[in-house]
């Protein structure tokens, strides 16, 4: 397996299997988790966490495409995530499921899952080995405010020595308003649109965000429609026992007046498609943590932006790190440099870890890798080749 002969000097690693890049500086071989070109690797148990290239054994935090990719031989994940993966990747065999809090042994390593509060089935992965405890949090949402609005099992803090945290919204400008005030604003926007004869089109990722919205919306206001991708995913979630309002299919209607009274949930990919024409005239709104900032709000040429996220905000990230009691924090996707510097100043041993996870960026039209597209090319690690020769660097991942 990749990662068997780890040297202390990262520069030598690229020769291993031709594609190995270790990114985090000072990563010691004794670590329970190391970063390889295929993803986070646990050498002691010979398995990967949310790998981005096909591997033999993958433990998966949740069903989003940047974490649960196709092509692994064996998947281990929470029962709800297993159902989502079966639907999304169209596979039936090779998926084992585990309930929250139950322990399974992979070699000498004890593996267990704890709720991450991000989307249904989302888990933090606890690894225990020779008295050491590591938690990989994947994506998470602490329920500072959620209360009645938390529609999936709330985040549970797991004590550990090393905490691997995301940092999608790791800047203090990202603080979520009370979700109930955001839902009130959505209802008002919907009502105003009804008065003006405009359909209300609300954009949210079909897995997670769409159901979070459905859970919080008041369907008494009018008919709820959804794009096929949202309807199918919502059916899968509903079968897991989640109570969610029924969704109508806009294709079945010819009466525009009915559409104009309705609210339609659409995934970001549908925005510029001809399918949207049927809703005209409509008002377009995004529900995302990025809507906290004016720049993205304007950039998306939407009429409204609602600040609703599946991720922890600044306070949530800090609370999660505090509650873990970890002495060492590895910060992945998002504002990794900033958040780790902040933690360092608070006296923790923190450092950024460069992964290929995307956080919430995949939810809106920017910075996303194509969905379910396994990366075929190695990502050049700039720190491995400080002096590029012109032309050569371009052979790596080049925008297309």
């Amino acid at each position: 397996m990749a990662g068997k002969k780890l040297h202390k000097d990262n520069r030598h690693l690229s020769s291993l299997h031709g594609c190995l890049h270790l990114v985090a500086a000072n990563f010691e071989p004794v670590d329970l988790l190391t970063l390889t070109s295929s993803g986070l690797y646990c050498k002691a148990g010979d398995f990967y966490l949310d790998p981005w290239k096909p591997v033999v054994r993958a433990v998966i935090t949740h069903g989003h495409s940047d974490h649960a990719r196709a092509g692994h031989k064996a998947y281990l994940t929470h029962r709800e995530t297993a159902a989502i993966i079966r639907h999304r990747l169209g596979i039936n065999s090779g998926i084992s499921s585990l309930e929250y809090g139950k322990v399974i042994r992979l070699g000498p390593v004890k593996v267990s899952l704890y709720p991450a509060g991000h989307i249904p089935g989302s888990s933090q992965i606890l690894l225990e080995h020779r008295g050491d405890r590591w938690v990989f949090s994947g994506d998470y949402h602490t329920s500072g405010f959620s209360g009645s609005h938390g529609f999936c099992t709330p985040f549970e803090s797991v004590p550990c020595r090393v905490f691997v945290t995301e940092s999608t919204f790791g800047l203090p400008v990202y603080r979520w308003p009370n979700p109930s005030s955001e839902f009130d604003a959505i209802q008002r926007w919907w009502a105003d649109n009804q008065k003006s004869g405009r359909c209300s089109v609300l954009v949210g990722y079909s897995l997670g965000k769409a159901q979070r919205l459905l859970h919080g919306l008041d369907p008494v206001q009018g008919p709820l429609f959804a794009h096929g991708a949202v309807r199918n995913m919502t059916d899968v979630i509903r079968k897991l026992g989640y109570e969610l309002p029924d969704l109508l299919s806009p294709e079945d209607l010819v009466n525009r007046k009915v559409l104009q009274q309705g609210l339609v949930l659409v995934p970001p990919s549908a925005i510029d498609s001809p399918w949207m024409k049927r809703f005209e005239p409509f008002s377009l709104a995004f529900a995302s943590g990025w809507m906290r900032i004016r720049g993205p709000r304007r950039r998306h040429a939407a009429d409204r932006g609602f600040v609703l996220s599946d991720h922890a905000d600044w306070d949530g990230l800090n609370a999660a790190v505090d509650a873990s009691g970890a002495e060492r924090v590895l910060v992945t996707h998002g504002f990794a440099d900033t958040f780790s510097r902040w933690l360092k100043e608070k006296g923790l041993d923190a450092e950024p870890l460069q992964t290929l996870f995307e956080g919430e960026s995949g939810e809106i039209r920017e910075g996303s890798l194509p969905e379910d597209d396994p990366l075929t090319e190695p990502i050049p690690d700039p720190r491995l080749s400080k002096e590029p020769t012109p032309g050569e660097k371009g052979k790596g991942k080049r925008p297309s």
């Binding site: 008002s283 900032i293 720049g295 304007r298 440099d337 039209r365 920017e366 700039p382 660097k393």
Partner: protein
């Protein structure tokens, strides 16, 4: 300030015209009267100057929020806006209180000149009562950066709807110099207009001609062509026995150009001319930078006037002997203007923008090809029968600019942008080859579409070599074609070269970095530009002048 904050947010959030009109209409009907006037002042750029310097505000806000200065900086790089950063980081107010926009502005004005400690204390008190959703406009006022992203035409339309007047009449009443505290709402929207003697007319603005004049309706003889002067658009008012100059930003700039007083008595009483102020010496326009030096001064010494003489290249007549001349066809306005300029007989201050004869469009192409030699940016093409409009309306006036210069350059550094693209890398530094090394020589901010911005950003995220504060250093991989309007020597740039209006023209994904341009190419262009005096034959463009 609740109504104003809601308007501010609504205008910011949508670009749909009818939704914006609804928001403006609601504001004009519901906001306190004094707030309506202040809104009109703010949107038309009559904003109070900055009260607190950016550095102080950042420091105090970071302390209030309980975060270190560097983290405030990082946040600022993501939002791209100081007022927004402060608004997002402050803790919630202790006891929110509703105060009107004019109350807040009056309070802010009273802070001017306070010693730092009292200013800070005042600001803390304000933060305690300022409701969360009114923070953004408040801090925009505080930093002197208040702008409402809405066209003047739309505001005039909304106000005209409320007043039951013609938008053009509203525009006329709100052009020129006025202060919200001296204006009252009733007279602004009254059926009869009051004294307008000191007000310029709303400027009529041209739209761009992309493909060429062939796309214009009618025959070439229906159109009039002249140079597009690279100067300051201005109206010259001669109404009350003295000459006034107004810039397009509706600023009175008479004091910067005192020599124009000499025209008094040489023009017909109560006349308004439209034209371009151009720095002009030795029979040709000087570089635009020279003109800016004149505009930047509150007054002008004799030696400055001699060193940088400025004249008005007149091209339209808006008022003639006290009569509003704007509805006359351009053909007639132009003929009358030629008479006025000739009679004034002072070519050192007032010239007519020469007519460029175009019997066919081929001639227009030929003229355009000579624009640069003239120190002009291209051609203006105006419909002979058109009235003088207001604002930017497509149909009668067109600008047909020359093709820009271009250079192929290598992306070297990037920084996060502001405004609509805040948080994304959109401020780029480009280099060209000098021998075997890349020499950074220009920055460019705009020109990429959203998809390209996304692609570049993805690439930057994965390929950053090093960070230096907000700047990321990138490997030389991507070549971009940079367009620019002019080139000059500059001691402030390491390359010794400054470009005018550089922007990204094309992403040359097909070009390897080795094929990017070399410094020698720009040097060559620089010496060509420097050599260019008016070409033979162009000097007599002014032969119609006395």
């Amino acid at each position: 300030m609740k109504a104003f904050a809601e308007l501010y947010l609504a205008l910011d959030e949508t670009n749909k015209t009818n939704v914006r009109l609804e928001a403006l209409d609601l504001f004009f009907r519901t906001a306190p009267e004094q707030d309506r006037l202040w809104m009109l002042a703010l949107f038309s750029g009559r904003r109070p100057r900055r009260i607190v310097a950016a550095g102080r505000l950042s420091l105090w806000a970071a302390e209030q929020a309980g975060i270190p200065a560097w983290l405030f900086e990082e946040s600022y790089h993501i939002t791209g806006d100081l007022a927004e950063t402060v608004s997002l980081l402050l803790p919630l107010p202790d006891r929110p209180e509703e105060r009107s926009l004019s109350t807040w502005i009056t309070l802010l004005q009273s802070w001017r000149g306070l010693p730092e400690a009292s200013l800070r204390a005042q600001l803390r008190l304000a933060w305690c009562v300022l409701p969360e959703n009114e923070r953004m406009p408040f801090h925009k006022l505080l930093t002197g950066g208040m702008r409402l992203g809405v066209s003047t035409n739309l505001v005039f339309r909304a106000l005209a709807g409320v007043a039951g007047l013609d938008p053009a009449e509203i525009a006329r009443r709100l052009t020129g110099s006025w202060h919200p505290e001296d204006l009252d709402w009733e007279s602004l929207i009254a059926a009869e207009s009051g004294d307008n003697r000191h007000q310029p007319f709303p400027f009529y603005l041209a739209t761009s001609l992309e493909a060429g004049p062939e796309e214009l309706p009618g025959a070439p003889s229906d159109w009039f062509a002249e140079w597009k002067w690279d100067g300051i658009r201005a109206q010259l008012l001669y109404r009350t026995g003295s000459v006034q100059l107004w810039s397009r930003g509706e600023d009175l700039i008479t004091a910067s150009f005192p020599e124009f007083a000499l025209l008094a008595g040489r023009l017909p009483e109560r006349t308004v001319l439209d034209g371009e102020l151009v720095a002009f010496k030795d029979g040709k326009p000087m570089d635009f930078q020279e003109l800016q030096a004149r505009l930047g001064r509150k007054s002008a010494s004799r030696s400055l006037i001699r060193r940088i003489p400025v004249l008005l290249m007149a091209y339209d007549l808006l008022e003639y002997e006290g009569e509003d001349w704007r509805q006359k066809p351009f053909r007639q306005r132009r003929a009358d203007l030629e008479g006025i300029v000739a009679a004034a007989n002072m070519p050192s201050l007032l010239r007519i923008s020469p007519a460029l004869a175009c019997n066919d469009w081929a001639a227009a192409h030929e003229w355009r090809g000579k624009s640069r030699d003239q120190g002009s940016e291209g051609l203006m093409i105006k419909r002979m029968e058109s009235p003088y409009g207001a604002g930017r309306r497509r149909g009668d006036w067109f600008k047909w600019k020359v093709d820009p210069y271009t250079v192929d350059a290598v992306l070297m550094y990037a920084q996060r942008g502001h405004g609509r693209r805040a948080g994304l890398y959109t401020d780029f530094t480009f280099g060209i080859w000098r021998g075997q090394e890349l020499l950074p020589f220009t920055k460019a901010y705009s020109g990429l579409n959203d998809a390209e911005v996304r692609d570049v950003n993805n690439w930057i995220k994965l390929n950053t070599l090093e960070r230096k504060g907000p700047v990321v250093i990138l490997p030389p991989v991507h070549v971009f074609e940079i367009a620019f309007e002019g080139i000059a020597r500059s001691s402030r740039h390491r390359s010794g070269i400054a470009l005018r209006f550089p922007r990204i023209y094309r992403w040359r994904r097909d070009k390897p970095v080795q094929e990017a341009d070399r410094l020698e190419e720009l040097e060559k262009l620089l010496s060509q530009v420097a050599r260019k005096a008016p070409q033979p034959g162009t000097g007599d463009l002014f032969k119609d002048l006395p």
